[in-house]
Amino acid sequence: MHGTAAMDVSGKSFWERLQSVDRRILYTLIFASVIIPILWPLHLPTPVTPESRAFFNAVDSLPSGSVVLFPFDFWPSTLPETEPMAVAGLRHCFRKNLRVVGLSNVGMGGPSIADRLLDSIGSEFHKTYGVDYVNLGYKANYSAVLLGMGSKIADIYPADHRGTRLDSIPLMRQVPNYDSVKFVLIVSDNAMTDYWVALVNARYGLPMVAGVTAIMAPKMLSYIQSHQLLGLLGGMKGAAEYEQLIDHSDKASRGMDAQSLIHFLIIAFIILGNFGFFMLRREQSQKGQN
């Protein structure tokens, strides 16, 4: 492998082949990295970041019976990342006896996901629909929805997701607008978090935290620094940290093993590719000198 690297049948040198490993090999390794930790969990500990701890503390410090607005602002495509956050958030809220008002600004699937999660976690804690939690569903035009609820929620949502009029729901009779809401717990995979911050936190001063996909987290950190968000969960790692904090390991904690292996694999391949790139460049420059 010294000097002129060995050529294969395709005429590629060893260093070139190192830069172009067949994608099927890469895909097989990624597939194995996902499957192996699911079958045999590694139980790798996840260190808790200050943002996740602040998220936990903000929810944990709410007095029992407080009303929490819980926007399920995510699409079904990001469920593996966002669902664990929403589940852990609901568990924490119900364990603290907080009352949850769910809604969604994502038309496609948001309300159905909210319904499923509210019902399943609600039943885990023996909570009653309409008394301890409610799902308002979806209404088009998020800016009008976010601002309009500040004055009168019933003007924007005359009925909940199941079609029951809001004045017939015991919980909603006590929550006419944002004045009765103590806190907002956003789970989002899109720009809705920005709108909650810009329209609701800025105008109504409602304290809020957000659980977002990993790709959105760097942007959201600026809201943490400006104290517009009190806490932040970033991607599956954030969800795993939150599960750890509420002492209930679930999907995110299991998923972190797979994510660890995949990150590691990607880094290994990037290093491998760059090593091949530098060695080839070195070889070519040596050839040029000769």
Partner: protein, 206 residues
């Protein structure tokens, strides 16, 4: 009059919302609340418009025997089944609409998104080369953040998570904040241009 009226409506609506933002509990606030309710109704109609438009586009493809007509037909069938079941039986838990969504649509969307992991890994391996100083900096930062964000990172070096945090909260955030401020200033100036009638492209003219 044809162009003055929309400009006037835009000016009144925009000015009303700005004033209402600073005057909670005032008459302006009450008027803006009414306007917001109208806005959600208009939003509902725009969804309907979108649905009709997508159905027309794909029906046209089927009718003209376009080469992608099978995809369009598939979309139309799904559109009719999902839409029809929602309209007839409702969209609550346990309905046909909900079952179709929870059992078919949501897993399919998650699958499509998950497949990205394979492509991203392959693309990162092939494209991420330290060809210049700036790409080398990007590469090192990316590797540190990726390692620092996973539990395995701390086993490699215990300081890696704090290095990753520093990259995220100092240089990365400085750039993010710059982009945020720039975008906000752009949005504010564009809004002012619309409110003052300088920007009229929404009327359908350049």
């Amino acid at each position: 009059m044809k162009s003055r009226l929309p400009v006037l409506v835009a000016f009144i609506s925009g000015a009303l919302m700005i004033l209402a933002f600073f005057g909670r509990g005032t008459v302006v606030d009450a008027v803006s609340d009414r306007a917001l309710t109208w806005q959600t109704i208009v939003g509902g109609f725009s969804l309907l418009l979108g649905a009709v438009s997508i159905a027309r586009v794909h029906w046209k493809k089927v009718a003209t025997k376009h080469e992608d007509r099978l995809y369009s037909l598939c979309l139309l069938i799904c559109f009719i089944v999902m839409g029809g079941s929602g309209v007839i039986n409702g969209i609550g838990s346990g309905t046909l609409f909900d079952t179709l969504f929870q059992r078919i649509q949501a897993p399919m969307m998650s699958t499509m998104f998950s497949v990205l992991a394979f492509f991203i890994a392959s693309a990162a391996y092939r494209a991420f080369r330290a060809r210049s100083v700036s790409s080398a900096i990007l590469l090192v930062a990316a590797v540190l953040v990726m390692l620092g964000r996973i539990p395995m990172g701390q086993y490699i070096y215990h300081g890696l998570p704090s290095w990753a945090d520093w990259i995220m909260t100092v240089p990365s955030m400085a750039v993010q904040r710059g982009i945020l401020i720039g975008a906000a200033l752009g949005a504010a100036s564009m809004s002012l241009r619309i409110i003052l009638g300088i920007e009229r492209t929404y009327l359908g003219r350049g």
